[in-house]
């Protein structure tokens, strides 16, 4: 998504900000917070200056979300102080933070699906108002219609929220938060669910708010987005500030990655060529009536990338190939026969693994143990006459998890005890154990995963491909696809719009994708 960089005007005024010419809207001093044995935050300082975008970066599990929850009053720090406009503030609840003018835009959509757009827009006033009657607390329809206009969301106030698309819901939330005259706006992964045009609207909104003097805290995984918009950057690693509010202009991308990861993580550059013969043939696959059918084949050991931003349909195509959802037409021909559409059970029997997009909803068995999670897809291979061979199952899980580098390596822990990255390793390991695996389909395999885990997952994919497993990776992360794929198919509107062999020029692929997205 680097093309964003050259869109935002590089006006000089942003870089000349001196460090503390004005009092910070919100200042956090040596904030610490730990959970039992884990020290989530050791000593973090953060200054949010009015009229400035302050980016907060950090790997998964670095303490980013804990800091945000403390700023929003959802959590109390063990040590350290929070000051709002110079005065010390002790937030007992989200209510205190909001009355102090700190408003959140959550990436986990905090919408009310069963209520109308009007009620969702008025949620803050309904939540915060004192007194008895609702109508007086709610802004007028005309005002709220104006809010929708500001973010270019052409929906009626009476529409039910659940009938909106994910991107529309995100814009609704942005409209709602930016309409409050907030002192501080906290954006947590806001662009994740947005199409290219919707992201543009967000960045424009942020710009207007910045001019109005709002302090903006922008949290994201996407380096290019951050570099494009941030005035100041803070990077958190292992609970303390690797970079503490340095002006964005003075930082280069590698420096930031180094701060986030602590060691120099080189992307994978060379992969071994794949054997020739075709393993799986995808034919006539259509997800939308108007889309042209998807046709491509995958050879033994070949890694094919489906490049597409959110909403392009890349992940839906991957899910349909793996039998997770039923396509309108077409299917996968593998091992001599065609898998019935939308039959995940048949797909697993034919040796098709699937790592879903949404780890929480469709991937991890939170309250079950590590072994149960890992053996879930390969139960039949551990079962004789209906009885589970728990010994064999434990050993198989132990080996694969050791190879995959589960950290901490505790076989008796429940899945909920692990970080996001390690939970994703559990899901990948489960698919590697599938009996006679010959096609592994993955959708956004390293989203929301720390850089180290991301590298480990890429290595596992390469190892599988070298062992002869064909792999299909649907992802919106171009660098990921460029580094591990033999071939990249660009997806737009549920159709394949172009193909690139390995080694293609990065800007060229992004151009095709951007072209696809325009």
């Amino acid at each position: 998504m680097n093309e964003l960089a050259d869109q935002v005007p590089d006006d000089g005024e942003r870089n000349s900000m001196t460090k503390d010419s004005r009092t910070a809207a919100v200042r956090a001093r040596s904030v610490a917070k730990s959970f039992g044995a884990t020290k989530a935050l050791r000593a973090v300082d953060l200054d949010l200056m009015p009229g400035e975008v302050h980016a907060l970066l950090g790997g998964n599990g670095a303490g980013k979300t804990t800091l945000v929850k403390i700023l929003l009053g959802a959590m109390r720090p063990d040590k350290g102080t929070i000051e709002v406009a110079g005065a010390p503030a002790d937030f007992r609840s989200v209510r205190d933070a909001i009355s102090a003018g700190i408003f959140p835009i959550y990436q986990h959509l905090s919408q009310f699906p069963d209520l109308t757009v009007r009620e969702n827009l008025a949620a803050f006033s309904l939540g915060m108002a004192k007194g008895l009657f609702a109508p007086r607390a709610m802004p007028s329809d005309a005002v709220m219609q104006g809010w929708l206009g500001d973010v270019g969301l052409p929906v009626s106030l009476d529409a039910l929220c659940r009938e909106l698309s994910t991107g529309e819901m995100q814009l609704l939330e942005i409209a709602r938060a930016s309409a409050q005259d907030a002192r501080v706006l906290v954006l947590d992964e806001p662009t994740a669910a947005l199409t290219h045009t919707e992201s543009e609207v967000l960045l424009a909104t942020i710009d207007t708010l910045r001019r109005k003097g709002t302090a903006i805290l922008f949290i994201s995984h996407k380096l290019d987005e951050v570099v494009a918009i941030a005035d100041r950057i803070t990077v958190i690693r292992d609970g303390h500030c690797a970079i503490a509010g340095a002006p964005a202009a003075q930082l280069s991308a590698p420096e930031i990655v180094l701060a986030m990861v602590g060691k120099d993580v080189q992307p994978i550059t060379r992969i071994s060529p794949h054997a020739g013969e075709v393993v799986a043939q995808i034919s006539g696959l259509r997800m939308r009536p108007e889309a042209k059918p998807v046709e491509f084949s995958v050879a033994r050991g070949e890694i094919v990338g489906l490049a597409g931003i959110i909403g392009s349909g890349a992940d839906q195509i991957a899910c349909a190939i793996a039998g997770g959802i039923r396509p309108l037409s077409g299917g996968v021909h593998i091992g001599g026969h065609t898998i019935p559409a939308g039959q995940r059970k048949a797909a697993v029997a034919a040796g098709i693994g699937f790592v879903p997009t949404d780890r929480h909803a469709d991937g991890v068995f939170n309250i079950l143990g590590v072994v149960h999670n890992t053996s879930a897809a390969s139960l039949s291979s551990n079962v004789r006459w209906g009885l589970v061979n728990t010994g064999g199952e434990h050993m198989a899980a132990h080996d694969i998890l050791q190879r995959i580098g589960l950290h901490p390596f505790r076989m008796d822990y429940e899945a909920a005890n692990f970080s996001g990255g390690n939970q994703q390793k559990l899901v990948v390991a489960r698919n590697l154990l599938i009996d006679g695996l010959n096609l592994l389909v993955m959708s956004e395999p390293t989203r929301g995963v720390d850089v180290a885990a991301r590298r480990a997952i890429h290595e596992i994919v390469l190892e599988a491909s070298e062992a002869g497993v064909a792999v299909i990776v649907a992802s919106s992360d171009i660098d990921e696809l460029l580094s591990i794929c033999h071939r990249i198919l660009v997806v737009q509107n549920h159709e394949i719009k172009g193909a690139f062999e390995r080694g293609a020029d990065r800007q060229h692929v992004i151009g095709a994708l951007a072209g696809a997205a325009a």
């Binding site: 989530a40 599990g61 995940r344 068995f365 309250i367 139960l379 039949s380 009885l387 505790r410 429940e414």
Partner: protein
Amino acid sequence: MRPGGALARIPVSVVIAILFFIICALLVPRFASFGNLENVARIAAILAIVSCGQAVVLILGGIEFSFGSSVALASVVSVMLLPAAGPALAFAAGIATVVLVGLVNATLIAALGLPAVVVTLGTLMIGHGLAASLAGGLPLDAAASPLFKWPAVGEVFGVPVAVVCAGAALACLWFILSRTELGRRFYLVGANAPAARLSGIGVRATTFAGYLIAGVFCGIASVILTSRVGSGQPNLMSDLPFQTIAACAIGGIPLTGGRGSALHVLAGVAVIAMLNNAVVLLNFPVAAQQLLIAFVIVASVLAQKLASSSLAVLLGLRWRSEP
């Protein structure tokens, strides 16, 4: 599979049950006598067998209300067929009736995907309506032949039949849940049904099997109950669903699915049976009995909540990833 060493593997409810036993043995006169304990076991047996059925459904993330009338329906059917078919066939018909109710629930919930609360509430009412219509309101008397009476009063090596059946039911539940593939699938579907589906597990088939097995457990219990009451009763143990849910909850089985074992069921049923017996021996008036039962149900579920969180934190087992 709870985190931490062996200590955390024993369910908290077993500790509660043992403590409860000790308290009763000390405070309640004649509680610890063999005769009384046998009586407690006899009463607890039926609740244990049906609770095994309820546990399977709870682990699946569902719930089963229809026990409240399927047992009564089975007793009416058995007694009506008794003169013509004789005890063995009559009891078989009783079991078949309950399994049929389980089949209806399984189809509506698994195949059509309707919410379990509404479906089992509906079959509870339909079942009671059928039982009362068939019996015409009045309990049907059964010609008490020795074979008909055997399940209630008979003994195997000195142990009441009901208690033997309860032991067999608990063992069978333990075996299904910990050894068989079907049992493993109950846990997976209960913990995260969409993830189970994407792992190639037939969620609908698993749910269907779960409600069917619950029906079989309940059917066996209905035989003992019919024999014990010696008649076809349209209102037989109508509070059975709540008793079994309370037993599983006290036993530590969360109603959200994914966890639970035969040990939990045993502990929960033991607490309720001892409680019902103790209040009688203490000669409490009915009002006080109900107040105490209410208090213990809520207190033990409370203890579960506090214990599981503090115990785990206390022992530093919970290595909590950054929330």
